[in-house]
Symmetry: C2
Subunit: 394 residues, 2 copies
């Protein structure tokens, strides 16, 4: 019989997908250029030219079996060597290539990380606002997702709320910095304080706690802000990465899980991830893409358009009276909505062809997400719609 559990999920659909469907329907009526679709976090800038060139040159220069053959269990060895070397150089880490497991994007890395350090019934704790997909990632693995309320003044960690919610059933803590949807960048101080908290709770509970760090926006940073590397602060860290945003290749599904060698059993953990893969049917990412991405792992797409868009929107919206935590990175911002019901606010915005995502699925009421990974010209054209929207409705 078709599974009841997954059938029940069909009715629901994601709010983001619904909004996107509205935006597409409206685009057919008035032209896509007139719909200000800020709903989807789909990178808009081109991949670095070197990435496409590398794929083309691998196809040309290598025998088919080398290019199209199976990867090793942990993923292509050469790719893991290059990525480990880059992480070691950039973040002062000490990864061995065998501490890395190549995955289909960050989603793949998280699926493995969750199963690696928690058992069914355990809790994974995360912080609002959070990527809505964390809920299915965790609950479909038969774990429970606990959410710590947001610290709304800066979207760093609300440590008092964390202290209150933390309990022995929590086995892993999931962070995402730079953060989707807020654009907040956790400071070194936040990461240090979190590490101290986890070490203290490990002693108190008498069991290990693991930090799962979801880092697909690691390189998209504004205003010269730097992102401290979470694993530097805590030994039992699983860093989950995707090249989807850094190289602007989300369809290529390339990422990795990197186990901090300071945990003392990183190689076993990486090999366990490969075992987990047998059950998930995941079995590594496309070998050709692994190699091309690794060869470009010190490059990024040109993110200046995201920063330009952020500045345009931040300046206009604050002038219109919005309260916004200024993003330190990503291509999102998360202003407070102008009425408490974020859904109602976003519905009204649609009348002005502004497609925004209400905050509820991010675990915070009364906010909305703007994904400004779009051309700057469109952001500029949207400013008039923002002004009309706010002046007419509020």
């Amino acid at each position: 019989m078709l599974s009841k559990k997954y059938r029940a999920m069909l009715g629901k659909g994601s709010v983001i997908m619904e909004l996107s469907a509205f935006a597409n329907a409206r685009a057919r009526e008035i032209g896509a250029e007139n719909v200000f679709d800020f709903s989807l976090g789909n990178p808009s800038v081109p991949a670095p030219g070197a990435y496409d060139e590398r794929i083309a040159s691998l196809l040309k220069s290598e025998p088919g079996k080398a290019v199209h053959g199976y990867s090793q269990g942990l993923g292509n060895r050469e790719a893991r060597e290059k990525i480990a070397a880059s992480l070691n150089r950039r973040f002062g880490m000490n990864y061995d290539p065998d501490d890395l497991f190549m995955t289909c994007g960050a989603a793949g890395a998280l699926a493995h990380a969750i199963r690696l350090v928690t058992e069914p019934g355990d809790s994974v704790l995360t912080f609002a606002p959070h990527f809505p997909e964390y809920a299915p990632y965790v609950t479909l693995a038969d774990r429970r997702l606990d959410v710590v309320p947001a610290r709304e003044e800066d979207f760093q960690i609300h440590f008092d709320a964390l202290e209150e919610i933390m309990r022995p059933g929590v086995q892993a803590v999931l962070i995402n910095t730079p953060n989707n949807p807020s654009g907040a960048v956790y400071s070194a101080e936040t990461l240090k304080k979190l590490a101290d908290f986890l070490l203290r709770k490990e002693r108190e509970y008498g069991h290990e706690l693991w930090l799962i760090s979801d880092e697909p926006y690691r390189e998209i940073l504004f205003d010269g802000i730097r992102q401290a590397y979470p694993a530097r602060f805590y030994p039992r860290t699983l860093s989950c990465y995707s090249f989807s945003k850094s190289l602007s290749v989300p369809g290529d599904r390339i990422g990795y899980l990197a186990v901090n060698p300071a945990c003392g059993e990183s190689r076993a953990a990486a090999r366990m991830a490969a075992q987990i893969s047998r059950g998930l049917g995941h079995d590594s990412a496309a070998a050709l893409m692994q190699r091309a991405a690794a060869d470009c792992c010190d490059l990024t797409a040109d993110f200046s358009v995201y920063e330009r868009n952020m500045n345009l929107l931040y300046d206009e919206l604050t002038a219109l009276g919005f309260s916004i935590v200024r993003p330190g990175g990503t291509f999102y911002m998360f202003p407070r909505s102008l009425e408490p019901d974020a859904g109602e606010f976003c519905r009204k915005a649609m009348k002005y062809d502004l497609v925004l995502v209400p905050s509820d699925s991010f675990g915070v009421p009364g906010h909305f997400r703007i994904a400004y990974c779009t051309e700057t010209a469109k952001v500029e054209r949207s400013l008039d719609a923002w002004r009309r929207f706010v002046k007419t409705e509020y």
Copy 2:
């Protein structure tokens, strides 16, 4: 804490990987050309030139977002249209593109299929000899794998044994034709008889039964044999496919799950597969590869080398006294070993630098698998080793 379940799997390792490690070590001693490694099912023929050309031309001619952007939830629409049209034309099916869900190879398709039609605790029934990975695929999803003993005279289905083992806890039946490891091709008669059996058991049990058909070797056929399309015989069929073997691109991880529209709810089932994906962290295959594979879905690599190798080995080994079911396809054969203990037999073969896989992990005693996806010259050079092996040891 690192998962006990997956840590326990580390000790075991697969027999095939162990053998492969032996072969690699021996290759360093005496040269790879002198080690007759028949252990790994890693396609050796080149991909069709059109496949590489298509990747290169997509990279050149399309805007980055079209090539490297996210796929739709079910996978790239254009790819699904082309594949559905090909299946409809070749096998008289009636697939809608929305009956298909693109996956990372057949492993990905099976992971979704299992979760789509069974619940934790249910049984999936398969037939010996079977691909050893079926055991982790099923048991890591918290399902149970029941195995019907082999019909050793031709490796078709042993229906008396099936009747005996079948029970109401079975919710899905998993077949693999052409078969790894035997090379057997299920006849139309076998498939018809299986369908009748399933329909009868559905009435008897009062619940649906699903057929999961694993078909990565679908196009590798010898002696002009044709493979009947399993879904033609049974409405509730999930066809799991991979381009790994047909296009000789196993590292590219492209496959699909096709739900037979005759089941009456194929579109819902495909959409449920996309929901399952959220929990598995699978999230579709590389978009570029989906498109290139779909554009080449009526092509195959040149399989004549596999047929040539099969004939060489079949003739020599039968002359040496081996009892072998002549393969109808794949790049495997599965002779009876010359002593009852297949492990001991394969250990002795190693002395002659013949690397073979004992049959126990395939669910059958007293046989061994030869994977002859290698150059014909090497197969020819191996014949002397076979002769020395048999004459000295038996």
